[in-house]
């Protein structure tokens, strides 16, 4: 009696359990609901929702092309400057006055926290630019008052005025000619905010909400954000450009690169940020995933702190550069997903110099130069390796270890130093390092965007000149280059700059990494943008 009943019982239990498991496990991603939104697995939290305030690519990815528009844009294929909010523009003959004609009927986001009563006009442009430009703007000191991108380029010093001519016409006057000026207006950081919203917030006494509850004209509007979890955007129905855009855009914040890949495979993400070099093969092998690849506008380098002896001696720097074999670094760290860097500029830039001088691996020369410079045989130095993965240097610690080995061959002891990212950058700015492995992702294709922030004197306080190198000839050449509109003349000047850098060698250029973006094949309209952040306007899911 007992036995058959129990057997039955067991069967029923097992069957029920199996049923529950099966029903739970069946996937229903083919339901139309799952086509309505795009999930992007991003690598970290944005610092703010206003890209004017931060240069990190995480912030730019999350906000710039999603929430906002700029006066101008880069064409992702050609890198040419194309109209955006400014439908056309005129440059005066002396190159000092720029007049922009604005698009009409550009609607701002209408959200539970703000309902716009007017469309975009010249006041918004003037407000947005004056925010970082003029210290007397009521919003200049809101949220910290630092605008690192504009500071590192010294833009504020060169703009005399931003004026409203009429409702749809803005005029910007410069003090000196600057042929890279238009390119700067097209970067991720030159976004246009709502002046009307700023007035309302100021009346309410909560101006800093402008950077936490953003209002822009972009293809998506802000809905909610939970740190370490997600950012939720919904489609801006009244977007001025007619694009086929998904109903929802969600940033799923997933710091671990392997987990991002796993989510991409299971379809929990539709696209991911920065797949790591070791994962690329895995993505290429799968039919349902696409890997977009473009030579990136970036540079990974090894910078010496030129304000500390003995690194203030160019011969010592040249000796250390000759001690390392860049090709091995490329293979071991980038898995051949990068090209060797000779100068600061990658091949994608128009000013790229194919026949530029490059340092060569020569330990004999290195030892000789070190001996001549009077460096004792067991000299010790530090190599700072940045603690985060970036396209331009996916594994700085590994690279530092390789360099450590090379340096021990020429009789230099190197110790590797690393802190968490915020502390690391703070100590770098204080100049506590001997040398550092770090890099730069450019924000536009203009060569000035590499040379000026990385090595000009003005970039030392803003913390982008990691070599702490200040050379008057160099700065003079850079200034001369942007004073002319003639591309060929600029190219010649940049060749002189390259020559100067090769002689002084404040930093050793190592690699220009390719930029990758992995996404599922269902995404339609997805394109990689070499000139800055990811764009989801015009991207939708198809079955």
């Amino acid at each position: 009696m007992l036995k058959p009943l129990l057997t039955q019982w067991r069967t029923i239990t097992l069957a029920m359990f199996g049923l529950v498991l099966l029903s739970a496990c069946s996937k229903q991603n083919n339901q139309p609901f799952y086509q309505s939104g795009i999930i992007y697995c991003s690598e970290s939290n944005p610092v703010t929702f206003n890209p004017q305030l931060d240069t990190s690519s995480t912030t730019a990815d999350a906000t710039s092309h999603q929430l906002y528009d700029r006066l101008l844009d880069f064409d992702p294929d050609t890198g040419r400057i194309v109209p955006s909010l400014a439908s056309s523009w005129l440059v005066s003959d002396d190159g000092l006055t720029y007049a922009f004609q604005l698009e009409r009927d550009v609607a701002f986001h209408s959200t539970p926290y703000f309902t716009p009563t007017r469309t975009l006009n010249a006041d918004d442009i003037v407000f947005s630019m004056n925010r970082w430009l003029r210290a007397d703007s009521p919003y200049h000191y809101v949220s910290g008052g630092r605008y690192p991108y504009f500071e590192s380029l010294g833009l504020s010093d060169n703009i005399a005025a931003v004026e409203r001519i009429n409702g749809y016409r803005v005029e910007i006057t410069l003090k000196r000619r600057d042929s890279s000026f238009l390119a700067n207006l097209a970067t991720d950081f030159s976004v246009i905010l709502s002046e009307e919203y700023s007035e309302i917030l100021r009346d309410k006494g909560v101006p800093n909400r402008i950077d936490q509850f953003p209002i822009g004209t972009g293809p998506f509007k802000f809905e909610s954000y939970r740190k370490d979890h997600f950012i939720r955007y919904t489609r801006h129905e009244a977007y001025w450009r007619k694009l086929d855009t998904a109903q929802q855009l969600i940033f799923d914040i997933t710091p671990r690169s392997s987990l991002r890949l796993a989510k991409l495979i299971t379809g929990e993400c539709d696209a991911t940020a920065f797949p790591s070099q070791t994962e690329l093969e895995q993505i290429r092998r799968r039919d349902d995933l696409l890997l977009a690849e473009k030579p990136g506008l970036n540079i990974g380098f090894w910078a010496f702190n030129t304000q500390r002896p003995p690194f203030d001696n160019p011969d010592v720097r040249r000796a250390l550069a000759a001690a390392i074999d860049k090709n091995t670094l490329l293979e071991a760290v980038y898995f051949d997903s990068a090209t060797r860097a000779k100068t600061l500029l990658p091949a994608a830039s128009w000013a790229y110099q194919n026949d530029a001088d490059d340092t060569a691996y020569n330990p004999v020369l290195a030892r000789k130069l070190l001996a001549d410079a009077g460096i004792p045989p067991d000299f010790t130095m530090t190599i700072w390796a940045m603690p985060v993965e970036r396209a331009y240097n996916p594994n700085a610690t590994k690279m530092a270890e390789l360099i450590q080995r090379y340096l021990s061959d020429v009789g230099v002891n190197a110790t590797i130093v690393s802190y968490d990212w915020a502390t690391f950058r703070r100590h770098l700015q204080e100049g506590l390092h001997d040398s550092v492995l770090i890099g730069w992702s450019a924000d536009n294709g203009d060569p000035d965007n590499f040379y000026r922030p990385l090595l000009s004197c003005g970039a030392i306080p803003s913390g982008t000149n990691r070599a702490m190198w200040c050379n008057e000839d160099y700065d003079r050449l850079l200034d001369r280059a942007i004073e002319t509109e003639d591309i060929d003349e600029r190219r010649v000047i940049y060749q002189q700059v390259n020559r100067l850098l090769y002689e002084k060698l404040p930093l050793v250029p190592i690699a220009h990494a390719y930029r990758y973006q992995a996404f599922r094949s269902e995404l339609d309209g997805m394109a990689i943008n070499p000139y800055g952040g990811v764009r989801f306007g015009g991207v939708s899911k198809v079955q």
Binding site: L6, I250, T254
Partner: protein, 343 residues
Amino acid sequence: MIRILSRYGILFVLTLLVLSAMSFSLAYLFPGDVLENLTGITVENELQRAALMREYKLDRNVIIQFYHYLESLMTGDWGYSFSSGLSLRDEIGVALPATIELSAYAMLMALFIGIPLGYYAGIRCYSNSDHAINTMSIITYSFPVFWFALVLILIFSLQMDVSPLSGRISLLYDIQPTTGFILIDILLANDIDRSLAFKDAMSHLALPTFAIGAITTASMVRLTRRSVIDVKHKDYIAAARSRGLSGWQIFTRHVMRNALLSILPLVAIQITTLVTNAMIVETLFSWPGIGNWLIQAIYQRDYPALRVGMLAVSTLVITLTILIDLFNRIIDPSREKYERGTI
């Protein structure tokens, strides 16, 4: 009965008091500023510091500070997180239910599968099916939970692609955390396709629940089996058999209840392991529960979060343990002679 209840009540309060004293002392033991560890507010100037010191009674002696600490715990002012700047009460209010939910389903799975299987194995002890069940449970029991969860992810998510591997529900659903329990919140939500959302949440629940549940199930099987075998050899079973009761009657009238009595206290111990396992599995499945949250807090040296998070988790465990023990007392009068409450 009232005596027992009051004894348990006092025990509960005293334990909580000790726990809060430990949590309070963490503010002093953690590196950094006591005021900041306690409030989670980064002090910007001396004026603000003085005001906060007064507000949190930090200028008074330790006893008054502790009294004030208890007061603010009661009123829900638990301080703010260093890393997110949000109220810790709100953060824990979202994270803790997620863990409880996961543990609850895993516990249900252990009870509804582990106990019947254990009975079956115990009744048919030393038969082939008993050996099979026993072997399975020993193998499952010996799996480290993090390894088991990873294997499940590898097989069901990455190879077979039948189950998602992270979160509680697809992010496309915007579900307000009213109760914190996802299945209930889905039922309360208005403007969504509930059955679709429900299925989605179930598919997210399946793997983590199974990963935690399997190990608890295995130990339930073993506990039940042992208990049934013990009961089977008791004299009253022999007496019942000699009275001519059928196997089924013996099982329902004698074996089932008596075996259960010795299992129930052990269930309480299982709960602690279960919650710990849930916290480990959460990080693997990116489940937004308290375990995941505490690990983030450790990474980011978020001392206020650690202080309150520890207190919340230990309170949860203590509460459950005491409740189950109390329950045991109520259903098992033979334990009347032990008058003191136990944990």
